[in-house]
């Protein structure tokens, strides 16, 4: 570092100095054990966010937009309009929507891996420019040069969209350091998967983030499979929220299929970070319905397993149920679905009809200048 982080704020709880080893961990608020678990306790005390009817409707619409967008992307892939790699977010919608709805849009930054369409849509980024990026067109958000895995938005402080598994986590540490250095009050939300959680650089980042007290929320989106390998086949500790313990990073175990729980957890985590508590590690337990990518037939799991999650824990159906209980009519929901389908169809038309980038674009943006 060229310069030490300025004014590292004091931790809320005294976790770093002289841990009182002989006291009972679970009852003594001064103990390390307690500090590592107190966020989880706060979540257990109140698992659901009190969403207003409008907020809940907004979550529902955002999740549905992601679902319909991804379904359409899958179709375009099948038609050959999207080439190469395409990782769908279907099933995981509540994670991006619940977490990102809690962000301070002016201050906070987000970074994620290659399964990034949902995070961009959760920001309210126009589906047209996302779909056009998938089809590799000039009008795409990265001018067609990035593709599905590599998308960015400076306007929304969205730092990508990264194709190398786990590499974005360390970048997230850098974003958080910049928030701290600039004293802008922002935090970084750094997503990665259960597979990426085994990359060494993730732990290098954990150490630095805790050491420098960085404002960062690490989010493991645990969808059960690292590409074709189930969590238990590749991970010694499959309770990912515990993996910050060695770095004194408090962990939270969250149901990622329930948008209201995700949002509640997000508020607890972000409050803690904003008050100078340093990094938090959230594990969002979720599930992807589709293969790892479009070329994955998903033979490593049974259809029944997928069907079971769809039937019992679908995040959109869950939100729909609450809306209906609150008196929203079936007709209203159908209307919303129709409007979202139209929006997605418009995005798909746009993505199909926009021109491809000119060959001269091959040499632009390699360096700032040309040589």
């Amino acid at each position: 570092m060229a310069k030490s982080p300025k004014k590292a704020p004091a931790r809320k709880t005294a976790t770093k100095k002289a841990p009182a080893k002989k006291q009972t961990a679970t009852t003594n608020p001064e103990s390390e054990e307690f500090a590592l678990r107190n966020l989880q306790k706060a979540l257990e005390a109140k698992r659901h966010y009190d969403a207003s009817d409008e907020e809940l409707m907004e979550f529902y619409e955002q999740m549905l937009l992601i679902r319909r967008f991804e379904e359409r992307a899958g179709q375009l892939y099948g038609l050959g309009l999207i080439g190469g790699f395409c990782h769908l977010y279907i099933g995981q919608e509540a994670v991006a929507v619940g977490l990102q709805s809690a962000l301070d849009g002016d201050k906070d930054s987000v970074i994620t891996g290659y399964r990034d369409h949902g995070h961009m849509l959760a920001y309210g980024i126009d589906p047209k420019v996302i779909m056009a990026e998938l089809t590799g067109r000039q009008a795409g958000i990265s001018k067609g040069k990035g593709g599905s895995m590599h998308m960015f938005s400076t306007e929304h402080k969205f730092y990508g969209g990264h194709g190398i598994v786990g590499a974005q986590v360390a970048l997230g540490g850098g974003l958080a350091l910049a928030h701290q250095y600039n004293e802008d009050g922002g935090l970084c939300l750094a997503y990665f998967g259960d597979g990426a959680a085994n990359q060494g650089q993730v732990y290098e980042t954990f150490n630095m983030a805790a050491l420098w007290n960085l404002p960062i929320v690490f989010v493991v989106e645990n969808n059960g499979y690292a590409m074709g390998t189930a969590v238990k086949r590749s991970s010694a500790e499959t309770e990912f929220y515990r993996r910050g313990t060695a770095f004194r990073i408090p962990g939270m175990d969250v149901n990622g299929m329930d948008v209201l729980e995700v949002r509640a957890a997000a508020e607890i985590a972000m409050d803690y970070v904003r008050q100078g508590g340093g990094p938090v590690l959230m594990e969002l337990n979720t599930y992807r319905y589709r293969g790892h990518s479009m070329s994955d037939p998903a033979k490593y799991r049974s259809r029944e397993e997928v069907q079971d999650v769809r039937e019992k824990s679908d995040p959109i159906e869950g939100a729909k149920k609450v809306l209906l209980e609150r008196g929203v009519s079936e007709d209203k929901l159908k209307e919303i679905d129709k409007a979202i389908k139209a929006r997605v169809a418009e995005a798909a038309d746009f993505a199909e009809s926009s021109p491809e980038p000119a060959p001269s674009e091959l040499y632009t943006d390699v360096l700032v200048g040309e040589y």
């Binding site: 080439g83 590599h150 650089q201 390998t229 086949r233 060959p359």
Partner: protein, 353 residues
């Protein structure tokens, strides 16, 4: 063939020969070596239970058990480090890096440990490791699933770099690589896993079955590292290529009716410089084709060697047709790819001299 794939009968050509695609041939080589040598151990991301994202390790866990064919977490640095330790203790690890684009976290272990262990222990310890990795583009993988990083390894003393272009060669070279007592980077051109690609992305893909070099004998055979293959003889110019580009270059020469000699290098380190030298001395003209970007690519080394050794035989400046000095683009993939048009133009320039 092994495990679940043994149930599938190998394809047979019209001539009754056993025909495999490159994936099956690689699987076959691993099977042969695991059968012959219990020190051969295969592992990598998705490589055990699932059999690899490209299916190259399919059936091996079933046949040889979890101790010899197993899953690794997504930890390329750790995978490579563990392989170095295994190798130093006498095993013969064959780790898979799922895409060559993912190799960089393991680069330190390959360069500083695997490649250098023998030298710094004065030959006491070795790294008999074969690092298999699918590489190259042509599959719309964008910048993180398409790269050709071979020159990053040819630059490193103490490690060999091998790139097959056919199922027949893939099997024989992989067996030789596994038996080699030094670390070998074995880059598998993923665009030609299922069939030879001649550069026309808009035409239907061919299958290996109809290609003569899909004939892959059963059992053990080796193709020595450092022996190039002259895939087309000619007098008018020499074309040096490897991997996917062998097929593209050969097709262009056939279409243009050019009397070109096309050499498939097969291994870059060790390099069969004698075959190259003899050819260029005969033709007086040299074209180098590779998919990796141009500056400091392996073509630069080839060009320097040809110039040093054949200067007085050269009748024209050496030509290079390569990827551009840009990241591998998503939507402009075929503008980047050194395809038939650019190769044809380079041949025209050489023949006009």
């Amino acid at each position: 063939m092994s495990g679940s794939q043994t149930k599938k009968k190998p394809q047979q050509g019209a001539d009754g020969e056993r025909r495999l695609n490159m994936i099956e041939a690689i699987n076959d080589a691993l099977d042969v070596m695991m059968e012959r040598d219990e020190n051969v151990v295969v592992f990598g991301e998705d490589a055990g239970y699932f059999g690899g994202v490209f299916r190259c390790t399919a059936g091996l866990q079933e046949k040889y058990g979890k101790s010899r064919a197993f899953d690794a977490p997504i930890s390329e640095c750790g995978i490579m480090g563990v392989a170095v330790g295994m190798g130093a203790y006498g095993l013969r690890p064959v780790p898979e890096i799922q895409f060559a684009d993912y190799i960089y976290p393991g680069y330190d272990q390959i360069v500083s440990e695997a490649a250098r262990l023998r030298y710094r222990s004065a030959g006491e310890f070795t790294s008999p490791i074969t690092i298999r990795s699918p590489y190259g583009g042509g599959i719309f993988g964008g910048q993180t699933h398409s790269q050709s990083p071979e020159a990053l390894f040819t630059h490193i003393s103490g490690v060999k770099t091998v790139i097959p272009s056919t199922p027949h060669d893939a099997k024989g070279l992989l067996i030789a690589a596994i038996e080699d007592n030094d670390p070998v980077l074995f880059f598998e051109p993923k665009r030609i896993y299922n069939g030879p690609f001649e550069g026309y992305y808009d035409k239907p893909a061919a299958a290996w079955r109809s290609h003569p070099d899909s004939a892959t004998p059963e059992g053990y055979y080796r193709i020595e590292l450092g022996k190039a293959n002259v895939v087309r003889e000619g007098e008018a110019l020499t074309v040096l290529a490897y991997g996917t580009m062998v097929h593209v270059a050969k097709k262009v020469c056939e279409e243009k009716g050019v009397d070109a000699e096309v050499i498939d290098l097969r291994s870059l380190v060790p390099l069969d410089i004698d075959t190259i030298e003899a050819s260029v001395e005969k033709t007086g003209k040299c074209l180098i084709v590779h998919e990796a970007s141009r500056t400091s690519g392996f073509g630069a080394e080839l060009s320097a060697l040809v110039q040093e050794r054949c200067f007085y035989h050269l009748e024209a400046p050496i030509e290079r047709v390569t990827g551009f000095d840009t990241p591998y683009p998503h939507s402009l993939e075929w503008a980047y790819f050194p395809g038939p048009v650019r190769i044809g133009q380079a041949i025209d320039r050489l023949l006009q001299e």
